[in-house]
Symmetry: D3
């Protein structure tokens, strides 16, 4: 059986990693979809799809389960999103998500949707990691080590600071 899990992963953090491990206990193969793949260099979406593939690939290599990591561009049309996903990634049997919109779209399309117990939801969120990066607070303990490496390689914190800087021309 194959499971599907989608997120923006800005960046991929330990909450995501735990989520993937929980799914791995359920299924034979996991497809991880990187949402809003085309967006980068913004305050909410600092990292490119390629950088996010690197983060996730290095963070899940330890897993026994085969993992596909696939960027998915936005079409900005919720009504065709599920078709877009199923055309872009290998076939899957069940979608895992706690995101209400994602769950709704898959359910309306007739998919089985499962949720996963969230691990320290407040600490482990992309919003919190980015907030800490901008505030100069510790953030490395919230992400897998390889993610911190990718962030460093891309000068990710500096990029985030720069693209978050409001400018009034």
């Amino acid at each position: 059986m194959r499971g599907f899990f989608v997120g923006r992963f800005q960046p991929f953090h330990l909450g995501h990693r735990t989520f993937v491990e929980d799914i791995a206990a359920d299924v034979d193969e996991i497809v991880i979809g990187i949402g809003s793949a085309q967006t980068s260099h913004t305050a909410d979406n600092p990292f490119t799809a390629g950088e996010r593939i690197s983060m996730i690939h290095r963070s899940v290599t330890g897993l026994a389960t085969t993992t596909f990591v696939v960027p998915i561009e936005d079409l900005h049309r919720n009504s065709v999103w599920v078709s877009h996903v199923t055309a872009t990634v290998p076939p899957f049997d069940v979608a895992y998500s706690n995101n209400p919109l994602v769950r709704r779209l898959f359910e309306e399309a007739g998919f089985e949707v499962r949720s996963v117990e969230l691990y320290q939801r407040e600490a482990y969120s992309g919003t919190e990691v980015r907030r800490r990066m901008l505030a100069g607070e510790p953030w490395r303990h919230l992400v897998p080590d390889p993610v911190a490496t990718v962030v460093d390689e891309t000068n990710g914190v500096e990029r985030l600071e720069r693209v978050s800087d409001q400018f009034d021309e």
Copy 2:
């Protein structure tokens, strides 16, 4: 003479219905354009174009005036919007709207634009109907009966609740 009236109709409510009736007194045929046709499953735009066609079609069948109901996708370019509309719908002689942007765009393009006396503007707005749906307050008296039927058939209130749920991944 043919009149044009455009809205997002999320959902079509009694204010819209009254507006259409007032236009019907003026013209022989009415073209109703469904704006932002491609948008659905969001807090501000819960319903698909197809669902909105159903709502409007069933709500105006009683009218003596011939009515065309035509979805219009956004091009996200105000400067070509009037051309886009006139290419997408049958020809019309006068545009009806109280929306300042719509009025402005038609006026700059040389169209005659008329406004209509608003019927209980504060009660009858899409924003208010959606707010009531989310708050669990009565909303059915604000829409034509067939609209309530379409909302029920699509589990529209549940959908609205789900897609309005903020999620912080």
Copy 3:
């Protein structure tokens, strides 16, 4: 029961009209989708969506069956086309088409698809009508009378000649 029939209708001709009549014998309501709605002023697609709505609306008003006429823009992604259609038009139970691609896409999406006996297929095709318009040969007997009227109102033959004229800058 509601049936769906899609075409480009460049222009709507008697073959289409017969097709609609045959569907009308089967179902309670018909949704006619106007494909490639955004395309006009080309040799293969001379007419706008609005002009095609006028053609079809005037040609099917005699039918007892309720008919919805809905323009559908291309997304240039076959894999999401069925979702795009079902979001854009009112719900339907069966798709009617003799177009192999359309049939395939609906079948892969799990829809019932029916075909219709073609009426003098070679004479009644959009390609043949446009060829005759360009060659100055008779074409009016191949389309419903109201279609000829719309073509005349838009100087459609002259437009077709102009946009078909190859130009090497």
Copy 4:
């Protein structure tokens, strides 16, 4: 040597004009890119690309330096923005900007980026000019005379008022 300077210029004001003069002291030719070229008739972006070309062209004709004024449409993908710019405008050697995102994107692409001393930054901003237009306060002293002329020719203040008017359908 050729320099590049990009802005939205909604509208082009004396701060922009001073910026261009400062660049002119550095380089032989200036390419002025008009960003978000496709956007107009909104509260933040009232003027079309064509109107902004007129504003800038008339405001820089006095300069000895050859100036190219080129509209640049958004692709809504920061990661390809620099390539998009370099394909759309004549080649340049150095990019001038105080906008942190623009600077970052050019730097990641290996371009030399220079900043310019800002001239009375708070007074001379597009946001402030538009605020004054809407509030009925004086704004003409903040823009070059030819810009005021273009604003008047397009009834720009009235347009801004109209498109800024919130409407709740």
Copy 5:
């Protein structure tokens, strides 16, 4: 009075240059629109918008008439093309073109359209210039000298050869 002239200019050749000179005799200012601005590196469209701006700018600097050179991206919708053009370039009074589609679109939009006597049409066409480049035949006498310079600076002939090479993966 201001005149508008649009072409793809792949590349700008002496036929175009003569056309511009003829228009210059008629009007006070000329707006030259570079069509299909987003297309480059193909057999029919080898040059970028920026390269085409350079070609045209250097070829018309001798003219007394003020000239605006503005890239125009395709929207792939003929029905909104005129609106797109008029929003992208400064206002103009008359459109010059021998292209039947361009003439038709401007005429349907109510513009005055003028044609120009063609100068040795067969020799001076972009198709012929590109054919000669690929065939290794002389082409420099067909373009203004500054265009040959731009072609050389961009290794344009080699690029054209490369992008014209059919590849069957």
Copy 6:
């Protein structure tokens, strides 16, 4: 060192497989980009991105080299293609391709590009495989076994026949 190889893979065949093996001898990791990812259900591009991921993933699992398989959507702008690719996939040091356009675009962007000795080029091409599928001739010996399995699972030959069927409405 990481190498990049891009193709449409309609379908992935033994020529591609040999190409990947040759690259694997050169580099530590391979990124395989699936071009025209958004296109499917056409005569030239029958398979979805997801199906092509399955084909490639199963065909390269035997390789010692780590392999990333990443779909890349067309932006229909050659000038930004390299930036789009580098933002979508993990970073790479050298691009492998025999496609002249791909080579040219990478070279203009300053990348090292290498070619690979082609293995029986005429037999092993996507065009030839699709021609054989349509003609009912043997094709399985031209593709890795897992590709034949994916084609069978998706009724790929039947789909290809259907979408290749010309239809004149």
